[in-house]
Symmetry: D2
Subunit: 458 residues, 4 copies
């Protein structure tokens, strides 16, 4: 296993990373990368064992409902890179037995890769969404054939790929990029049916980053984003060589969706567990700021908090149902029920904006206009900030200001915007989640209930 320091050192491997028009030669010199890198390093240290055979116990496939539930409980305590690595490895384990009619070598390579990645204790990002070009056309009919990542050359010992993968969280801070097709491929689109693992520092890989990391000197009024930011990568593969032992699918179009569906499941499970915690967190902030404002007993405030906690519990119910109705692969790995997982993800995403509205409605304009801790410390303004941000309710002026800062940071600033978009888009937009829900819903049973009501034969 790696220590945090070893992880930090591992990033200095020549990876080509860019940010706002600049090359970033040393990630640790730039707050937007150094802060999340240190968070990942802390994750390494937390699970480190010096034993030579040790592996991270969190990155092991669950073999019972209880283990699956345990993962769901702890995943939100992991740093994002570890969480994504867990999802990537589970994706591979879930996908392997679903591949059919392919050379058994792929399963052997997958097993070897999972084993090796676990032992080397690396971090892995999932690379799925392509650039896509003209979305009404399939990959093979695009003006630019590289709109979807594809194999441009097959060599004796591996393949060369070209294209781009978008919206890749943590891409600049992991070791491996797990590339897989974003959608079903048809005969004739063999070059696009490619799944493989690419080290970030492979020649030809370039990552253009965006981030919600705060840009002020004093980041204390960004209490969450200053601690838990993570850059998103626009990952370019410009004729990148991948050795054959890292290729898990190449050309078998009928199996193109196997990885995406498996990933979708784990990503939506991750999304749901994150949203469940997030929903409870918003409830807590709403209650705390209502109390700090002295308004916790006002009926319309209580009503809004009630709606928030009902929402939070309903999404959690979806997670509970997905776990209680978990399924098992032939190898004995447990994964959550897809219908419940999707439905919970859909509800969480669809209602999130309304929950934010409730929180803003309860909290008031000081979400935006609360002075900073710097203003509280400035002798020319501090006594006024103290005097007028107090309410006489429990808690100090500073406590109340910190709550406003947290609410703004989480819901009404750069990180807030990131949540609004990613809650919707992770695992596909609302429409994608409808499609999956429809696919797994037992419509024949529902139709029989309808026929029975109508007096028609079932």
């Amino acid at each position: 296993m790696l220590t945090g320091a070893e992880y930090i050192a591992s990033l200095d491997d020549g990876r080509a990373t860019y940010f706002e028009g600049r090359h970033v030669p040393d990630l640790m010199q730039e707050q937007a990368f150094a802060v999340p890198a240190r968070a990942i390093a802390a994750g390494y240290d937390r699970h480190y064992s010096a034993s030579p055979d040790a592996t991270n116990p969190l990155v092991v496939a669950p073999r019972s409902v209880e283990e699956l539930r345990h993962r769901a409980d702890v995943v939100h305590t992991m740093d994002l890179a570890l969480a994504v690595t867990y999802g990537s490895l589970m994706t591979l384990l879930t996908a392997a037995p679903r591949m059919s009619g392919v050379d058994p070598i792929y399963r052997e390579r997958l097993a070897a890769y999972v084993d090796d990645a676990t032992r080397r204790d690396i971090r892995i990002a999932e690379c799925i969404t392509d650039a896509k070009g003209n979305r009404t056309l399939p990959p093979s009919q695009q003006d630019d054939p590289d709109a979807y990542v594809r194999v441009v050359e097959r060599r004796r010992d591996g393949v060369v790929i070209r294209g781009a993968k978008l919206h890749i969280s943590a891409a600049s801070l992991v070791h491996d990029l797990m590339v897989m097709p974003t959608k079903a491929m048809k005969p004739g689109e063999e070059d696009y049916a490619i799944t493989c693992a690419v080290p970030v520092n492979t020649p030809g890989v370039r990552i253009i980053n965006t981030t919600f990391h705060p840009r002020t000197d004093d980041v204390r009024h960004f209490p969450v984003s200053s601690q838990r930011s993570m850059p998103d990568g626009f990952v370019v593969f410009d004729d990148v060589f991948v050795p054959e032992e890292r290729v898990f699918l190449d050309g078998e179009t009928a199996n193109a969706t196997v990885f995406a569906h498996a990933l979708g499941l784990w990503e939506r499970l991750g999304g749901v567990t994150a949203m469940v915690t997030q929903a409870d967190q918003l409830v807590g902030l709403a209650q705390l700021i209502a109390e700090a404002n002295g308004l916790a007993r006002v009926p319309h405030v209580r009503d809004k908090i009630d709606e928030m906690l009902i929402h939070a519990t309903l999404v959690r119910a979806g997670l509970e149902a997905a776990l209680a109705n978990a399924h098992c692969t032939p190898e004995g790995y447990f994964y959550p029920d897809e219908l419940y997982t999707n439905v919970a993800k859909y509800q969480g995403a669809a209602q999130f904006h309304l929950m934010v509205r409730h929180l803003h409605d309860i909290a008031g304009g000081a979400v935006l206009t609360s002075p900073t801790l710097g203003d509280l410390e400035n002798p020319e303004t501090g006594k006024y900030v103290e005097k007028y941000m107090r309410t006489g309710a429990d808690g100090t002026a500073e406590d109340r200001m910190r709550l406003f800062h947290a609410i703004r940071d989480l819901t009404a600033d750069a990180l807030g915007g990131w949540h609004l978009v990613t809650n919707l888009q992770s695992g596909g937009g609302l429409f994608a989640q409808r499609i999956v829900a429809r696919k797994h819903y037992d419509m024949e049973r529902a139709k029989d209930l309808g026929r029975a009501a109508a007096g028609l034969p079932t």
Copy 2:
């Protein structure tokens, strides 16, 4: 146990039942009572055993999560009177151990009553909602002290009660009325803290009924309400004597809510299981009518059906979570988690109107204007009905008409209105369910999540 015929015979016991201004001396002579009575009788026959010690296996308290789940699965196959009886008995079993600081005789009477009722195989209705008078005043301050049911006289061998209980489904068709306080009582309101079981034919009991049973001669275009109607009773207790062995609480105000809370739990569980099935039924009807209309592949129709099936699954997830997180009384009886049960009930009730809108939007105006089967059989009109109600899609004109009839009956006629109101009001309106959800939600945990985000000590 009773046979269906014995049940029918048992109704001829002098009960005082009224309907639309008339006394109903013989329930079996009036369709609105005879039809549901025969449905209840069929339920008796289904479970009948001639063995002298036999009892109905469905009316036994669950002793494991699996048994609890089994009850949830079968409760919607029971006739309403049996389902209500099950809820009543579970209420008593759940309430008994929650009573505190009272004479142990109550628990003994409860146990004896449950045992006796089970052996005699009777049906029991729950009587909770009082007339309430001026709702801003407590029972003891009403102009009319009878606005809430109360004890007006205590005799050596029992009590005399007066008041009215409203919205009592099946009151005219059961054997016993289970009377209990509808809310918390304070010291000084001892007379209102009364729980007892009253046979329907006790002198002084009068029941004024309403019903959604269809009033046409040809009821075939009311395929559900003509088969599964159930009268609701406005039950008056005009100085009714209750012998002491049927009195389960009398004056212990601190325990007044024990029965209502237990009932609320089982009523909401019953409501949730009914709503889960109902939601799937509406999905099925939407899909069937979309297919019959030839519109099942139209995107906006699919979108609406998707929203309906997501809703149905989300409410079901609430039920699943309530069962998976079931709790156990000291006696070993399992009951569902209250938070999840309430939240599922809330969501099901709050969104039901929207689901009805989706169904109506998909089905079209023929929900209202489809001719009847009589019009199809009339030689002067039948060939036109056949010709113009066909669509060329799968299914005959008659099939399609039957679907329209079922949709109208279930969602756009008297039974539909009954569903709109009772989905909201059973177990209390939306506000009541918010209160219960708030009470059971772990707010401290949520506040800790909020504090952690704000950098405040947890």
Copy 3:
């Protein structure tokens, strides 16, 4: 002009009307027809003038915004047959100048027909929705070519039509049926491009009715539906001859939608004015029952009423905007703005179910279970009904019962179901209204605002 008695007499003209499998030889012998016929007769008497040149001033095209507004104000005071007649005539006047590239004889016939109908003071129903058969196929490709009304024979002096029109309110109680194409027609579908006026008693016309008229003997607990019901007709044209002077379009496919669009506009305007009044009525009922229940000051009740009155006012704002931005035909007839009319109709329909939910949530279960006035009058039950339906708040037990009856009748029984469906479906379902809104919205202006924000040239 006709008196009410003359109108009643005019119905005895041999029209072929059917109801629940029976022929109805004398409409006045059947409550479901006699009651609305008498309401229409009362409308005749209200506007009657013995002057030989008199015409109904309400059935004259508005020539200013003020006149248009006046019509919007009074249309909901008209009986439905008069309102529909007004809409039909306005449709013809709006459509006439929009016809292009057609024989001018059509406009002359339209003008003559409007003039004659006005002078003869007849009532006219709009017949638009066809049976439609397989909805994914156009009229010309149906298995049954009669799935849309079509011309089956052209004679020297007129045409013969065949087909059916569905959902025709008041069809059995008017004099003329205004037939028009329900959608755009293409070259090759000339036979389906037919607009004409057909007297109801023409041989070959048959009408199969449905109704929400109550079926009890004592209809007092159906206070609205027992007074204001109106049958809907399923109108069959079995080779019906239409003389040429009553044919307003025959074969000019490019003009097929002119009438439907004009009708849609007036129907949606009628729908909006009805919904505005209906929304205010529901607010009023919510407030009255909250007061009668003694709950008008409870915060969550006030919140719901507030949401209802905001909804009512918002829909009214749409109507106000449609009137304030009215347009004018070349002939000087004013008609409301289509975008605002549609948007108001959409909002009114989309939110109606939620408003019903609020009303039911406020009112409580007695919407369903309130005893009838007959129970109040029955000496065996009346004193109890009086005692327990009073609340001590303003108003008698009877007042409160009447409010419950009105709420059930309007929102939770047969008429309520009719409102749920027709609010959505009149003028097309929600999707149809989206299409119209999209068509009239100034998207280029919106895009320019978007481009300006993005720094792109506008």
Copy 4:
């Protein structure tokens, strides 16, 4: 009148302004102040006239519906300081005739102040929301009597005030602060019934600012917030002297709400006009990005855009209705109808979050992860950005990136958060708008409609 340069010079008047813990001695040295100051200066130059008697024609009270509509049309083209100044002056003109039972000197001072302010061409900010302390207590019962701004000393020639006003847009960039009570005051709270105009640079005034102005060097991917930011002020009055001619209310508690109600009206009108334009802008961005993504014809995308344009039109209908039903002060100044204004504001605020969700759902993850223009210009990354951000649909990669930047800036970053909160909170939260709507709604008419339906006397 002032030129832009004169305005810029006027800011150097010793005002005490603070930002993130620092004093800001020269506003023009700090982008977050200099950018909006230059925008205000541009507004001066746009309307400048050298004529000595000239005044800004936009800051004149409307004397007809047409003039009122014109103001509504142009207000969103004004810079925020000019818009707020217009609202402030209209507030004073609307409030003056509503004051009753007070010394006529107030009206004279108001008229003189409006005249002087107009001639001097100054900018004025509205200072209404107090610190409020314990919100469940009135001003006079707070621990800290300064929780609401109050008069602490009355001198022969004026008053001395103390307290703080929160959420004051543009406070640091205007000339005068218009202080007024935020709520009704009772007898005994005379010191809190204070309305007056305070120059920003008066000794004792301190302003602590917050802003959504972007903090990057290259602000091109913040296309809106980098151009149109405006700091919000936390304004402290530490024993500030106000000469008597600038005092418009002092102690007349019965008139305390006159100014707040008038301000609320104009602020909500301003809010509605802003939201109407904003809603159309979001529609335009949704359509443009759908086209750029090649998805404009996908049904679920069109559905979402349809919902957005229906929303935009509905809010606009509220504005249209408010203008079409404008009222007139005794002096002949026109102001919009309060009921329609409030209802439009409510709808716009309540649905804004959902519209943002639709936009994010349509646009996709590149809202967050689109590279910057700097990345496009960087030779190491530019060709990849160009290659993979193109879609083959109309428009260049750069156009598409600019659209993503605008969407993120407006809805998913600091400015987006500002909109989420201020749309709700300006003019009070949703609850405040319900109260106003309820107050102006004609409930008696609605109740009469309800009574008529129930057969009760009206």
